[in-house]
Symmetry: C2
Subunit: 525 residues, 2 copies
């Protein structure tokens, strides 16, 4: 799939750019860090032309047909998200779920026409942004529809209007991260929403999934930047009034934030922007153990300082990602401002960390922060390479109150470790970091690396993931802080979601999507 | 109505405590500031016992009857909120809308039983906290029910649990501001939600109406403090999981925040708390005109400094409330922290204000801030006295983006002034202040003082208010930033609310309150 702006080609089976995939030399270096008996010959990458996708079951009328493609490469690339289980299945050539058609609408009118046609023909419609879902959010798994249409929004990617005075912009939902930032830059403005998927996810995807972004505190979710949304549902159009805040009834936007394409297609939104920061300061603080680091993070989160970065890495993550070998956990603190120096705030935060047993690093950690950022963006490519080579590599995340945090992190680490041993025959590795923090709680993020058995990778991961999700549910944590529900989290989401609220959501679904064509299987059983 | 904790008696017709009402000497001083030809003999306060309320049309079964009262004083006091039009009607003895019964449940089981009974008997139920609505939120105006039950929650007013680690508490919805703060104080914690109605409004009322509170920025609405809600609807109970944040589907809490008693009765909530601030700093900055002040407020709002107080008073408000006679607008800036000194932040904010043409006051404004606060809390009592004496005195508020702010303030002031002239035969006074600010916009708050004609007060105010609301709607502002919709704003709320979202809300209403007994006439026609 060629990107018109870059001419680089996206991987159809794995993460990111095809030309950025881990090569043989790099792969050899990566697998050298795995136990030797885990390592298998890499799963080959199949040729799509050999895979014989099912023939498309529908054909839209001429005016819509020109918006759609049935090209096997495009259909294959739009079959799954980018979770470990997606990559494995793609590499195995399991593409039964491939959409019959992929549409690339360029206007709201075209989307309306496509929805009308799909409703009449009982065609499931899967709204699709960058396709970076790791929760089965863009994969059709049902059997109640006559065909599946993937609705790729990426040709609707313009910044339509900038309001410099209010520091906000009207942006089309199909804009990928770099595409929207490049249009904001000439105005000296930025959304500063930088999920790991930044290059390969869209504004609409962020909004629909309540994505987590750059800021460790305060503006943690994209939700916090929304002034208004415009949403096309099969029943009609919803456009909220553009306001900095309102007390007029329940928020319309909050119904669609997190609706994951089940209630309508978000086509554009007014977003609050930031001035580009010119003052930055950051510092690393190390701790004897993750638990002490958590206490320091809690104190900082309750101090009102609001660091833009407050990333705590446990001992293993610190070793893997920053190369340190002293067995200490590391907290990276960062502040930024477009208006005034932030050194004082950093000093205060470091003082608080030291008061909780931390040791401030003697030099600025700007280098290691930069290094960590590169490693962070490289991780999904590394995941793909390790996945091909015999390792289960996957992440999951949650949010909980501070009262539960330490116990939750410990229970998840021990419980998931036990699950890897049970499922894989030997224990794997479970690491933890903290990505977003709140005065009243925290969002821990876990990585699992374990030994896979060829042919059983997906089932093995699903068992480990179920064990992890059961622990989160038992301890009252959220099944997701920012990865969304999709299809993979549905069972635990149903346990978490209040029953009466489910009835309301179901009523909303029936009202907005009466034929049930929008992203079936997501949020609703 | 006696308050069990204070033994002070609430006014049945007007604001607050009966013994705090403006006395004759104070009233004489106040009316001396009105044009003499406006001043009329004060409307007498009727004796409830002379008013002959309609006999209650229903009688609940014995177990529920003991929770209810039909005492005329209690029914009269629960008939209206506390808007100008409410006070006038109460003084006129117009109590046709009085509820047949007022219930004081002490447990959720009792609420469930009352809702069940009301549903079977077609009795409208009006959830009632402190009764401080200024938008007709607690007044029955329909005719489709066989009787009206006012559900007074104030006996459910306990802080049930404090989580010091996460800095949060589980609080029953019927707790009035001082009642909940007095229970938090021993823990060194505070909600710091201080609406003008603080003494006479409840947590549940704040949540149901998305009340605005103490903080000028960031935590402006009570919404921002909610971890979870528990809501009893006729269809069943909704309890959200207690979390610092979540990305799992649309937020359940956001459906009930702003639902104004139409979807369920909020019975308790986990709220984020604050440590008591020990560092405070504030300063006044004056401006040649309100527009310059607005520009300074915008720059401060976009600076990331987040003052806790950023209150801009126009020339008239500054004269009335702080006694200054130099015709300048005044910005009161305040910062607070429980952890670190805030002087630097104040200095930076004052610098920004000065760069926008402000003149920093030479001494701390703590005294005038304190004076303003006393005046602020006294205002509703003063309003009642002036209303009795021949003046229309009322407020309204909104929110808009910065792009619209200056034009909106000017248009509202001139348009509402013209409306007073048309309605009252001579122009009144329209003043403006800014109570809450955002990086992308602002919440202006207007006060209208005009000459009333005895017997026509309510119709006159309604005409002025309609003119004001039409301007807000035409300029794309919100019909309310924090006063809620109630019944008085319904027409403009319907213009503001997206049509498809209304269908969803209606579906939610049908699901949660299938017999339509909850606060009929609010949010829904």
């Amino acid at each position: 799939m060629a990107d018109v702006r870059t001419e680089r080609i996206r991987s159809w089976w794995g993460w990111g750019w095809q030309d950025a995939a881990v090569g043989e030399a790099e792969r050899a270096g990566l697998v050298a860090r795995l136990p030797p008996h885990w390592v298998a010959d890499p799963l080959p990458i199949p040729d799509i032309d050999d895979l014989e996708l099912r023939a498309p079951r529908v054909r839209p009328p001429g005016s819509l047909a020109r918006l759609c493609t049935v090209h096997p490469h495009v259909r294959a690339a739009h079959t799954y998200g980018k979770a470990y289980r997606d990559v494995i299945r793609a590499l195995r050539g399991e593409l039964d779920a491939a959409p019959d058609l992929v549409a690339f609408p360029e206007s709201e009118e075209q989307i309306v026409d496509l929805l009308d046609w799909a409703g009449e023909e009982n065609v499931a419609v899967i709204p699709y942004g960058g396709g970076s879902s790791v929760v089965g959010g863009v994969e059709y798994r049902g059997d109640g529809h006559d065909a599946v249409l993937c609705l790729d929004l990426t040709r609707m990617d313009r910044v339509l209007e900038v309001d410099r005075t209010s520091r906000a912009a009207l942006i089309q939902a199909g804009a990928l991260g770099p595409v929207l930032e490049s249009q904001l830059a000439p105005h000296g403005l930025t959304l500063r929403h930088f999920p790991q998927s930044f290059e390969f996810s869209t504004l609409g995807g962020w909004l629909a999934t309540r994505a987590g972004g750059h800021f460790a505190m305060r503006h943690t979710h994209i939700d916090d930047f929304v002034e208004s949304l415009r949403v096309l549902s099969p029943s009609g159009t919803t456009e909220s009034r553009r306001l900095p805040a309102s007390g007029a009834g329940p928020s319309p936007d909050r119904l669609f934030l997190g609706s994951e394409g089940t209630l309508g297609v978000i086509t554009q939104a007014w977003l609050r922007l930031q001035d580009r920061p010119v003052h930055k300061a950051s510092r690393g603080v190390s701790f004897g153990d993750f638990g002490s680091g958590l206490e320091a993070v809690r104190a900082i989160a309750q101090s009102g300082l609001d660091p833009s970065n407050c990333r705590l890495l446990d001992e293993a993550e610190a070793a893997i990602n920053t190369g340190r070998a002293d067995g200490r956990a590391v907290l990276v603190l960062g502040f930024e401002s477009a208006v005034h120096p932030v050194d004082t705030a950093l000093v205060r935060a470091v003082e608080i960390a030291e008061a909780h047993g931390g040791t401030a690093e003697s030099r600025s950690t700007q280098d290691s922060v930069g290094g960590w950022r590169s490693a962070f963006l490289r991780m999904p490519y590394v995941r793909d390479a390790l996945a091909r080579s015999g390792a289960i590599v996957e992440t999951f995340e949650t949010a909980c109150t501070w009262r539960t945090a330490a116990q939750l992190c410990a229970t998840v680490r021990s419980g998931v470790l036990a699950a890897t041993e049970e499922v894989c025959g030997e224990p794997g590795v479970v690491t933890a970091r903290v990505t977003h923090v709140y005065p009243d709680g925290v969002a821990p993020y876990f990585t699992v690396i374990a030994r896979s058995r060829r042919g059983a990778e997906v089932q093995m991961w699903d068992q480990i993931k179920a064990a992890a999700s059961d622990i989160l549910d038992r301890l009252g944590a959220s099944i997701t802080h920012h990865h969304a529900v999709g299809r993979d989290h549905l069972r635990w989401y149903e346990a978490q979601r209040p029953h009466e609220f489910h009835k309301v959501l179901r009523a909303a679904k029936n009202s907005l999507d009466p034929r049930g064509i929008l992203n079936p299987g997501v949020l609703f059983d």
